[in-house]
């Protein structure tokens, strides 16, 4: 066999080789790309933490693979008033220690959220609209919100229910984060129970014998952090692990051709876009424009959008592991404007004409800020966009830097244009638009990620109205209108949605999820 170095580096040269003997049939070992920062389900809003929490615990509601909200511990719910939600708990649910789930556990759980100290991102992120949580009886919980809040159901997906008895303690928050990292108080209703955790190494879970739902296929689950993607791939091929997260785009084709492994992809969710400074006249990254900011002209923004060949980026840079975007929301997302689901076609002629019409026929220069190593192939995508912009006369230089430096520059508004990314966990475009394009207002907490400082009173009004509209159809119409308005104003230039992939040994499959979580209960054997 002739091996080129590149292929070895990406650890994919061994297509067609048989795998080493798999572990016991009922053991599942997963190679994670990063490990949880804590096992306390209320310590840090971070994907690796959430996916472990959602294997051991369950919340009142859950999301299906596309992101739609489904009942879980709450069997049903009803609105007593626009701000009062009554959740009926599922009967017959017990914790892994055998004790029954009651409304007191739910109240305790929500009560603990704000009390967890030292949290890098507290779960109050999901409870900030909640005024109170009370038990109406043993099986009914009332959640009162401060304002009519349609997103409550998707917010509480992130608040898994703890057992009051197991998680109580002398500290204000009950069991402390340190205790939970040791496994104390980790009693949930989920399909798995905690066995052991050695930081930097294996986290071991076992099947919950008291589980109320369909029993998972695995007796034991081992989650092993393996930050290096080539090492994960090699370990999968060697049979050390049964499943790996985050297959690198460069390996997807080789893995698909390999009969010993099975590749699954999630619905697209994370959006990659380019934000443009539309506030300042003297924007730091723009040159040759006589102190003016061409990006404030809609025609220039449209020209920049038309210059980008999104399909080519998806195919050549992303290896097909992405979907070209016409909006910040995917086609299946609630509130995405149907007219903007498909990515716009590139048209360099029209782009040049628009630039000339706007008075920039001789072009200008711009620096495109980009992280290097934060998002999939981020720096290469930026370089490609720069080449495409340069082709229509906007000479573009890429400033690709390490993620911490990129974030610092971005937050200091040092970029006139930058490549950014946004993950939407609500499956509703409203949260994305509110963060990305609503007028920046620190006190109101809107436009928090609006690095281009785009501002449009009409868009603000539509989003404001949508956020308090409880009727789904009416809210959907408002959001679609808002999305269309923003896209037609070229407020931001969406590029594509990342499509995350998992690889499993053949014979296994995974119901891959838009939220990108790796949840062992949804790994099953193929028949």
């Amino acid at each position: 066999m002739r091996l080129t170095r590149h292929r070895l580096l990406t650890a994919t040269a061994f297509a067609g080789l048989t795998l080493g003997g798999p572990a016991l049939a009922d053991d599942l070992t997963i190679g994670l790309k990063s490990e949880p920062s804590s096992l306390d389900p209320q310590f840090h809003v971070l994907s690796p933490n959430m996916q472990v929490a959602l294997s051991i615990f369950e919340a009142l509601t859950t999301q299906d693979p596309t992101g739609a909200v489904k009942p879980l511990l709450a069997e049903s719910w009803a609105l007593a008033s626009p701000t009062e939600w009554d959740f009926k708990l599922r009967p017959g649910v017990t914790f892994s220690d055998g004790s029954p789930l009651t409304a007191a556990d739910v109240v305790f759980t929500f009560d603990r959220v704000a009390k967890v100290p030292n949290s890098p991102t507290a779960f109050t992120l999901f409870t900030r609209k909640i005024a109170s949580v009370t038990a109406l009886d043993d099986a009914t919980v009332r959640i009162t919100t401060t304002v009519p809040y349609p997103l409550l159901l998707v917010d509480i997906v992130n608040i898994p229910i703890l057992s009051k008895t197991a998680a109580s303690g002398p500290a204000p928050e009950g069991r402390t984060t340190t205790e939970m990292n040791r496994g104390e108080g980790l009693i949930g209703t989920g399909p798995f129970t905690f066995v052991s955790w050695q930081k930097g190494a294996d986290l071991v879970l076992a099947r919950n014998e008291h589980y109320w739902g369909t029993a998972p296929a695995w007796d034991r689950v081992v989650m092993r952090p393996m930050t290096n993607p080539a090492a994960r791939a090699a370990a999968l091929l060697a049979g050390d692990i049964d499943m790996m997260e985050d297959l690198p785009t460069a390996s997807i084709a080789d893995f698909r051709a390999n009969k010993a492994v099975n590749v699954v992809s999630a619905p697209p969710a994370r959006s990659i876009y380019i934000a443009l400074d539309q506030e300042r006249d003297d924007s730091p990254g723009i040159g040759g424009a006589g102190g003016k900011n061409p990006l404030k002209d809609k025609r220039v923004r449209e020209a920049l959008s038309l210059a980008i060949d999104r399909a080519a980026i998806v195919e050549r840079i992303m290896g097909g592991a992405a979907v070209a975007a016409g909006s910040l929301g995917t086609g299946t997302m609630f509130g995405t404007s149907p007219a903007h689901v498909d990515a716009p076609r590139p048209d360099t002629e029209r782009a040049r004409a628009l630039l000339a019409e706007a008075g920039w026929g001789n072009g200008f220069t711009i620096t495109l800020g980009s992280p290097s190593g934060r998002y999939v192939n981020d720096a290469r995508v930026s370089q490609t966009v720069a080449a495409m912009w340069s082709r229509i006369g906007v000479t573009t230089a890429v400033d690709a830097v390490a993620p911490p430096v990129y974030f610092k520059n971005r937050d200091a508004l040092d970029y006139s244009a930058y490549l950014g990314s946004w993950g939407n966990n609500t499956a509703e475009i409203g949260t994305t638009l509110t963060a990305q394009l609503m007028t920046y207002d620190k006190a109101k907490g809107q436009g928090t990620a609006n690095g281009g400082r785009y501002s449009n009173p009409e868009l603000d009004r539509l989003l404001d109205e949508a956020s308090g509209t409880m009727d789904d159809a009416a809210r959907k119409a408002l959001l679609e209108q808002a999305d269309a308005l923003a896209m037609e104003d070229y407020a931001i230039l969406p590029l594509h949605f990342e499509v995350p992939s998992w690889a499993l040994r053949s014979g296994l499959t995974y119901a891959a999820r838009a939220d990108q979580f790796t949840l062992p209960q949804f790994v099953t054997t193929e028949n």
Partner: protein, 324 residues
């Protein structure tokens, strides 16, 4: 002698101070840890609250002084990411790295010294040339590549050894050790080989050079003339006299490997300190990075001191120099 040790320790205090300033200021200048830590969905007010809770809203000087004040009392602060004491995070990972490096260095010395002596005694023999050629590969190939090659051959193709992790651990007091089990040795084999190959190659070259230097010496000739058995000549007279460069290089390489085994650790998903350092740098988890660097500087200073003391044990002439 005592003065020598005290002098060295005093010097190390200065080195530690300088390092703490460099690392602290360096990370401070890179960026704001909250940009990496806090969920992008958090509002600026929520972000501000985290900044205040972590003490990041204060000036750099105040942050540094309060850090140093606590550090002098043995408290390196809490990791921004996990909320755990930084020192504890590092100490938890330390046994894994030490196990890996000790096995790797053991391999390097057992391979490197005999092969280097062989190559030095008969420099023109084909076997010696082969050894030297191999050693060039040993330290010119990148560790990363060697690691993946070994995984490909021994784990993927032959299925003999595991490609990742450390295996089950046995608790010995507060330490979790994996070398006490057979599984542990299986797991350490490939990473130790990866890490040890380059070190072995270096030791071959050092030993060879030293051997060639010592062989023509009068006392070796005299020993031969006296009719001493080859075993005694090489095993005692030669080995003793080439020990100093070998010890120097081994000591330095050992320290280097402990502090920066990170490439090997990430290729083999070995749960050691190197991986912790890289992860912490990426997330700008300053307490962990600063604590790590300070511990490593201290460790290297002590290691050098031990090497120097060993010189004195081996080489009486170096004791004279110390007195000056």
């Amino acid at each position: 002698m005592l003065v020598f040790v005290i002098n060295r320790l005093l010097q190390s205090v200065i080195v530690l101070l300088v390092m703490s300033v460099l690392v602290f200021v360096g990370i401070f200048l890179i960026g704001d840890p909250t940009a990496m830590l806090v969920s992008p969905e958090a509002t600026d007010l929520e972000r501000q609250m985290v900044r205040e809770a972590l003490g990041l809203d204060r000036s750099m000087l105040v942050q540094y002084l309060s850090f140093m004040g606590n550090a002098l009392q043995g408290d390196f602060g809490r990791s921004f990411l996990t909320g755990q004491p930084a020192l504890q995070l590092i100490l938890e990972r330390m046994p894994a790295t030490f196990e890996l490096v000790i096995v790797a260095m053991g391999f390097a010395v057992l391979m490197g010294v005999p092969l280097g002596m062989l190559a030095g005694m008969r420099p023109e023999a084909p076997s010696s040339r082969a050894i030297m050629a191999l050693s060039i590969f040993g330290f010119s190939l990148p560790t990363f590549w060697i690691g993946l090659m070994l995984i490909m051959v021994f784990a993927v193709q032959l299925g003999l050894l595991p490609a990742s992790g450390r295996g089950p651990t046995v608790e010995v007091g507060p330490l979790k050790l994996s070398l006490l089990t057979l599984q542990g040795w299986y797991h350490v084999a490939l990473p130790a080989l990866t890490l040890g190959l380059a070190k072995a190659a270096l030791l071959i070259r050092v030993t060879r050079a030293a051997t060639r230097e010592v062989l023509p010496m009068d006392y070796i000739k005299f020993a031969r003339a006296k009719g001493l058995p080859a075993r005694r000549i090489f095993g005692v007279h030669l080995l003793k006299n080439i020990m100093i460069p070998i010890l120097t290089v081994s000591g330095l390489e050992f320290g280097q490997a402990i502090a920066f085994a990170v490439v090997t650790e990430s290729v083999f998903s070995w749960p050691g300190m190197g991986k912790l350092l890289i992860d912490s740098i990426i997330t700008l988890d300053r307490p962990v990075v600063v604590a790590y660097v300070l511990i490593m500087v201290f460790f290297l200073v002590i290691l050098n001191l031990v090497v120097d003391l060993l010189y004195m044990a081996i080489d009486p002439s170096s004791r004279e120099k110390v007195r000056d």
